[in-house]
């Protein structure tokens, strides 16, 4: 059996489980972000009175942090009222950061659990050996009422990442390379298990970046067997006891892909599809790609390690006139550490605009929206038409190092020049 199957089996109280079977599983933690006031509406429409367990669900206000308009402020107000009424033990207001990051920091994510969030990038939590998956508002309302949700036990695809990353190749480059091969729908309804020596040695931030992007291949969930870095992180934080699950030896994956990480280069997902992946070298060989904006942030590329490399590349330099670089740390904890280490100062001196921890412009809500005809390079997860503003803007997805290097000249630039 696969570890994901063991997690689903345990939480559905069954003694065996089959791929393709529909099970109703207990949810260990449920999170509602601030795009989803519909969850509260659906909860009452379905006859909900009180949440099933006030210690196992929370709101995170990250997409509108702080509120850019009256409507989002009204939504926050209604959600706060719901949280108070239900006496929720945990609450993450506009001063905390992106949901996937803040839940992990708060010790609410740990191996062997099922976590459901109203956000597709909940696959991020596979970094911790948890089963994380996103859902819509009404599925979430069902969880708030019953503490359970139905799942189809997914087929599991193995993505084996072997070898050490060469200079200039970061977890974002690795997952873009994977995405270019598996494509945007290659893992729909399935789970992706990232294995191999590269994953075994990877830090928590890098693991989160890779699992985060699994949903861009359509995956229901992602998984990485917890390594020592994860256990060290979780053991200091977890609010509940946990049990690490292991995949049985000889488990037969539905599909397997193998990547030699040591042969990779800096990668880009070019406009306007996440699967339109090319090496940076190839893209710039066709001519300069001039940029109006760089963006470093989000649940994909806004952690300390991401901001650190950007600060190191940009320290003592300055972005060109008439361009801008927006940097949004993924969480309050990330921002505090970056301030303490001087990264924020270095980036501000290089001309960066720093904004409140949260989702920011990643989804086109606020804090870095693009005008028609503008070009942006970003460490986020999606370059769909209109994702960060105008449908006539273009976005290149890249590693934070590539974003920082590119903003030195205001055109897409190979980060290896600065390393």
């Amino acid at each position: 059996m696969h570890a994901i199957e063991k997690i689903l089996m345990k939480n559905s109280g069954k003694s065996s489980i089959q791929t393709g079977e529909i099970v109703s599983a207990k949810i260990d933690f449920a999170e509602i972000n601030d795009l989803y006031l519909q969850t509260v509406y659906s909860f009452y429409e379905m006859g909900g009175v009180k949440v099933w367990d006030n210690t196992r669900c929370a709101f995170v206000f990250d997409h509108y942090a702080p509120c850019p308009d009256i409507k989002s402020a009204e939504n926050h107000k209604a959600m706060r009222e719901f949280a108070v009424k239900n006496n929720l033990k945990y609450h993450f207001d506009t001063n905390t950061g992106v949901c996937h990051q803040v839940l992990a920091e708060a010790g609410l994510i740990y191996p062997g659990m099922i976590v459901v969030e109203t956000d597709s990038h909940t696959t991020t939590q596979g970094a911790f050996g948890a089963m994380g998956t996103g859902c819509g508002a009404t599925d979430m309302a069902t969880i708030l009422m019953t503490g359970e949700l139905w799942f189809r036990v997914p087929e599991v695809i193995e993505v084996r990442l072997e070898g050490e990353a060469p200079k200039g190749v970061y977890p974002k480059d690795v997952v873009l390379a994977v995405l270019g091969r598996i494509r945007a729908d290659g893992a729909v309804y399935k789970a992706i298990d990232f294995t191999g020596s590269y994953v075994e040695g990877l830090n928590v931030a890098g693991r989160m970046t890779i699992c985060n992007m699994a949903v861009e291949m359509g995956a229901k969930t992602a998984y990485m067997q917890p390594n020592q870095n994860v256990l060290d992180y979780v053991s200091k934080r977890a609010v509940r006891p946990y049990e690490v699950q292991f995949t049985d030896k000889g488990y037969h994956y539905a599909e397997s892909y193998v990547f030699d990480v040591s042969a990779l280069e800096p990668e880009l997902a070019c406009p306007s599809s996440v699967e339109n992946v090319h090496t940076l070298r190839r893209v710039i060989s066709n001519g300069d790609v001039k940029l109006n904006q760089g963006y470093i942030g989000s649940c994909t590329g806004g952690r300390v390690e991401d901001i650190e490399i950007a600060a190191k590349i940009l320290k003592g330099k300055h972005i060109p006139e008439y361009t801008r670089l927006v940097v949004i740390p993924a969480s309050r904890e990330v921002m505090l550490e970056c301030i303490a280490k001087g990264y924020i100062t270095d980036l501000m001196n290089a001309g960066a605009t720093i904004s409140t921890p949260g989702c920011g412009a990643c989804l086109g809500a606020h804090e870095g929206i693009l005008a028609p005809g503008e070009v942006c390079i970003t460490s986020t997860n999606r370059n769909f038409p209109g994702r960060m503003g105008s449908t006539e803007a273009s976005m290149y997805l890249a590693s934070p190092a590539t974003v920082a290097a590119s903003m030195v000249y205001g055109k897409i630039t190979d980060p290896r020049e600065f390393l």
Binding site: H63, S120, G134, V188, P385, T391
Partner: protein, 166 residues
């Protein structure tokens, strides 16, 4: 629920993501009709205003990829759509659609075989889509038992209300 539906269709492409179905800048809106008025504006601004009531959206592969926003099926329903026929669907969109009573039906290559404005008849039990203009009939996948149970109850909300006796 109706097992045979007839409606005029529009045709969109591959990888129509939730930002194209319902852009991020409108996510704070909660009024369903207003949500519907912005539907598919990331593809073209004039789709929602001209969409026929009871119409069908025909798409290529991976329809609804991207965000988990339930605004996407809410927008489609309130624009007047009753079904989406596509080569394939993203998982969260599929669940959200079923939960709200919008039919997501897998129908391979349909987007290459019909054109905007054609009247289509979807027969859920037979597993067919007929182009009423040409008489051509295409096979489509039948929805699974779990999805049908929810759809036959009128969506997850009536199902839950029945369960909790409200």
């Amino acid at each position: 629920m109706q097992k045979v539906l007839t409606g005029k269709c529009i045709v969109v492409g591959d990888n129509i993501d939730t930002d194209q179905i319902y852009p991020g800048r409108f996510l704070a809106i909660t009024d369903p009709k207003e949500i519907g008025s912005h539907c598919l504006c990331g593809v073209s601004e004039d789709i929602a205003a001209n969409f026929p009531e009871g119409g069908i959206v025909v798409a290529g592969r991976n329809f609804g990829c991207g965000s988990s926003r339930e605004h996407a099926p809410i927008a489609l329903l309130n624009m007047g759509a009753v079904a989406v026929l596509a080569d394939s669907f993203a998982r969260i969109f599929f669940r959200n659609a079923v939960n709200l009573g919008l039919l997501p039906v897998v129908c391979k290559d349909i987007s290459r075989n019909v054109k905007a404005g054609d009247t289509l008849t979807l027969d859920l039990e037979a597993g067919t889509v007929k182009n009423d203009e040409t008489g051509e009939v295409f096979p489509c996948e039948k929805l699974g038992e779990q999805a049908m149970n929810i759809l036959e109850a009128g969506g997850i909300k009536p199902l839950m209300r029945a369960k909790f006796g409200k």
